[in-house]
Subunit: 505 residues, 2 copies
Amino acid sequence: MSSAGGRFDELLERLGAVSDLERALFLLGWDEETKMPRGGAVARAEQRATLARIAHELGTAPELGELLEELRGFETENAPESFEASVIRVTRRDYEKERRIPSALRAEMTRAASLGYRGWLEAREARDYELFRPHLERRIELTRQYVACHEPYEDPYDVLLDDHEPNMRTVEVEAVFDRLRDGLVRLVAGFGEPVDDSCLYGDFPPERQRAFAREMLARWGMDDDAWRLDDTVHPFATSIAHTDIRLTTRLFPDNVTGILSCLHEFGHGLYERQVDPRYFRTPLASGASSAFHESQSRLWENVVGRALSTWQFFYPRLQEMFPERLANVPVEEFHRALNRVAPSTVRVEADEVTYSLHVILRFELEREMLAGAVTPADLPEAFDAKVRDYLGVVPADVVDGVLQDVHWSDSSFGYFPTYALGNVISIQLWDRLSQDLGDLDSEFERGEFGSLREWLGENVHRWGRTFEPPELLERAAGGPLDPEPYLRYLEEKVEKLYPGATGRR
Amino acid sequence: MSSAGGRFDELLERLGAVSDLERALFLLGWDEETKMPRGGAVARAEQRATLARIAHELGTAPELGELLEELRGFETENAPESFEASVIRVTRRDYEKERRIPSALRAEMTRAASLGYRGWLEAREARDYELFRPHLERRIELTRQYVACHEPYEDPYDVLLDDHEPNMRTVEVEAVFDRLRDGLVRLVAGFGEPVDDSCLYGDFPPERQRAFAREMLARWGMDDDAWRLDDTVHPFATSIAHTDIRLTTRLFPDNVTGILSCLHEFGHGLYERQVDPRYFRTPLASGASSAFHESQSRLWENVVGRALSTWQFFYPRLQEMFPERLANVPVEEFHRALNRVAPSTVRVEADEVTYSLHVILRFELEREMLAGAVTPADLPEAFDAKVRDYLGVVPADVVDGVLQDVHWSDSSFGYFPTYALGNVISIQLWDRLSQDLGDLDSEFERGEFGSLREWLGENVHRWGRTFEPPELLERAAGGPLDPEPYLRYLEEKVEKLYPGATGRR
């Protein structure tokens, strides 16, 4: 045991170095999207590629494999959910997956992501998809090489999905999405004229929005000692350490909806913030999966961030900060506007009901691109066609259409589905925590979010990657992945805002 | 040749990776001092230590040594100042020096620097030197270990100096400093009542100072595509790439002198910005030495940044931005105030005449600490005593005294002397370029700084580390290191501002 303990310490030391490199990479990425002068792009791509290559080399070193073998006994001596057994188990999973990939390919994928991000920004600025197309072609080529490293597989998309949802298969996603698509299309068709949300538009100086968002998030649990909030083109959250959480947002001068992106990213940040500090510098120190991560962001953005009770506390302050625009708008009107349901072209601005349809169409397009059925040259048209089919609206141009998301530039395929799966999980968790904690609305009305935060910390966040998603879901929500609670939640919500729309009465 | 060429490409590839890690380290450091929430400190120290260790391992790998041996023929086939020969020569120098140091020591020095920086910030906040003392003790201990790796040496300080001034010896510094000390002390004693500089004090909102500094630096050659300017506690400049230059500054609401720190850092930034782009990702892509770097910052801060001609162009705009304070102050009065000479306690705020005395006393203290003649426990008193002896003033407290500089927390010993050597070099260069370019004042009065910038680019900056400092000085200024032009420059300046003070007429 003491000798195994010594080997375990050696493992922790190796993992610490890999973690340091990965977190440094997060910082390089954060800086690239928030602070870096554009002239730094080529150098940054090289820097990220080199760090990614070295992290990959260290994470797939034969000595690491030998250590993992030697520690098999030590692993079984410890309880499966113990720190020791979990570190070994999760490291082995990562090791076996990563060593299929040449370090040079990992470096090239990282370099292409940096350059692709720059290409995406330039294409958006010029409103010219052609500036982005070569980057997408390169990405697909590299993605195919990456997938090929993982043969055999049932479906090539399984490989990509597994990067974000360990062990989840594409057929499982399809089953959930088929049910969601049917339910959502029916819901969308059911109601007529959307509510008036004009109170969200007008003159909203971004500096004041930022100040308000910071106040609101401070109440939710963000503090300056361990968090930041910065501007970017496409909002994201990243964790340089559990004590150094970076949220980013994009606020618009002519509407107040950008605040919701702050609430969304807070959910991601809180997850990383509340991971057990003991997991620091190990592979456990992150969320269980992308869908679990999105469940947290979507929960804070939608379930809490669009609740009337929440705004009964915060709205007077918002009115105070934007008196010209909101002094005469009652909280109920503001709340209804925030919850407006109406098909639109942009995913990040979509309401809760149509949101998952945006995700489903991207999932389908990624699979078609991977199969070669849709080429990068076809993509803008294919994208617009799907938006029209599922949502009945047509993007005004490429920035409003195929170039709206950052993900096809700097992230890998396989991420999009996790947004909709996150929605599903968020409501399964919400139903369970509502049973445990009782009515939270009265707490929210008083500006108290501590018991929610603690429940999530205790039941989800602190565990990091200890459990695979199905086990974590079973423990935290008491059941397997199930879209029905989410559909019920949306139905109830729509029914409340548009009585009669769901045809339930 | 083609096979040697192939080996040379292999060398470049290895050096590229080391460079990427080093630049990533610069970014981690920049972030630590400008953006990082304080909670990130411990994680950042680990991240920096890991990257430093890996950079050191790659930069001292036996395979690199073998490559350098194999390339000896290729090196001599190429002219000494060629890219190829210079890369090999400079890499060999770094390699032979670095491999004397264990990677673990390099990592520990980096970790201690990060933690020391945090300790320094905390000690300043609490105005309590004792919070910093353990960090300084650790630094001295590590510095001694580091010095011991380089035995034999004539003087232990030679080892530290060599990190900043290749091949310069402590006795050479002493010779220059002896001459400077005498000349400066005589100058300081010679004049009576300092000029009135009250126009520099009052209500100067930092945001407007920042806007002005950005305008001024834009005119000097800074653009948003490749530069940034951020706030920090102790100003510095860093280069994430020659196309990604970061300046930092500290502006105070009650005086306008912080703008000078922007001008200073611009000099550093311009040097890195104008290094030959071909040197990208090689060890050549940096300044020739710290003193050469300081010669550039001091030249732009003092020779250009305190010139009447410069302010004849910029001052009307400054008045426009601070009308309450400056509308009735003539440019001549502002210029005299900027050039005020009077002993004070804080180095970065010191005038040109007393500045080098601040440096000399730090150089002496570093040597005494290294020898154990002054311990960290003695340091505050020893520091104050020297300030009193050389400058005739006494620090108000530790923040005003021993804790004023960041360098004993996060940098290594041996840096301070380069500030004064930089002053000396700046005037040697200035004299030479004035001969080449003729009178620059009329250009400065018109807001034109291009010919100065180009001369420096052509004669100094573009060469990066191609030449060692003495050779570069010989080529650019036409002579060896010589304090006399600097002393003459100061005498003339003082005589102009305080007629009769130097006793020359």
